[in-house]
Amino acid sequence: MTIRVQNENFSIEEEINAIKADRKDIGAIVTFTGTVRDMAKSADMSKAIPITKMHLEHYPGMTEKQLSEIQAEAHSRWPIIDSTIIHRVGDLFPGDNIVLVITLSAHRHAAFEAAEFLMDFLKSKAPFWKKEQPEEGEANWVDARESDSEALSRW
């Protein structure tokens, strides 16, 4: 079970290889990668505005603790062989990777469900905050989306 918080980029393939190693009991590998978009909704949601930079702040210590709890919960709910969570912090730019979740299982359904569960809980429970720099004007802290807390009710 891998958890990392880092500024550097990650390689999806290297992370899969690291977690898969030479195991041959794996039938299904699901990855989720979140990336920085170059447009964001304006504060009143009326229009999309161009974004030039994204700053990611987190709560060192609590982040790792929360991610470990979320990961342990996923492993207790589904027959997951192993999983990886990597989240970047600091300054990121449009097109950059933000987050990577990998789940390994014998069968696809568990791998898909556990990956989606990890992302839903990470989005609502892990102490990360995004600040967007629009092309013009001051940087803004991103508002939490109601759909993200609603996503939890599914589990």
Partner: protein, 83 residues
């Protein structure tokens, strides 16, 4: 007790952390917020919409009614937006 502030809570208060001696009367997160507000307009601004501020005791999310109970680290921050 160590207090930590993140994101726009940190920006409004103007610092990321501090160590405070609490009066004996402060025993819950709610009471801690009220006491912080008495310390100046920057705290009043940060806690203007208290209900939207998340609290964590020793790195675990807690509701505002929670007793501090000898906590060593309390953090305040906006709803999280990672991922």
């Amino acid at each position: 007790m160590k207090l930590l502030y993140f994101a726009w809570v940190r920006e409004k208060i103007g610092k990321s952390e501090e160590t405070v001696e609490l009066p004996a009367s402060v025993s819950t997160i709610e009471e801690l917020i009220t006491w912080l507000e008495s310390r100046g307009p920057e705290f009043q601004a940060a806690f203007e919409n208290k209900d939207t501020i998340n609290a964590a005791i020793d790195q675990a999310h807690v509701p505002h009614q929670t007793a501090l109970n000898g906590a060593s680290e309390v953090a305040f921050f906006p709803p999280v937006t990672g991922g």
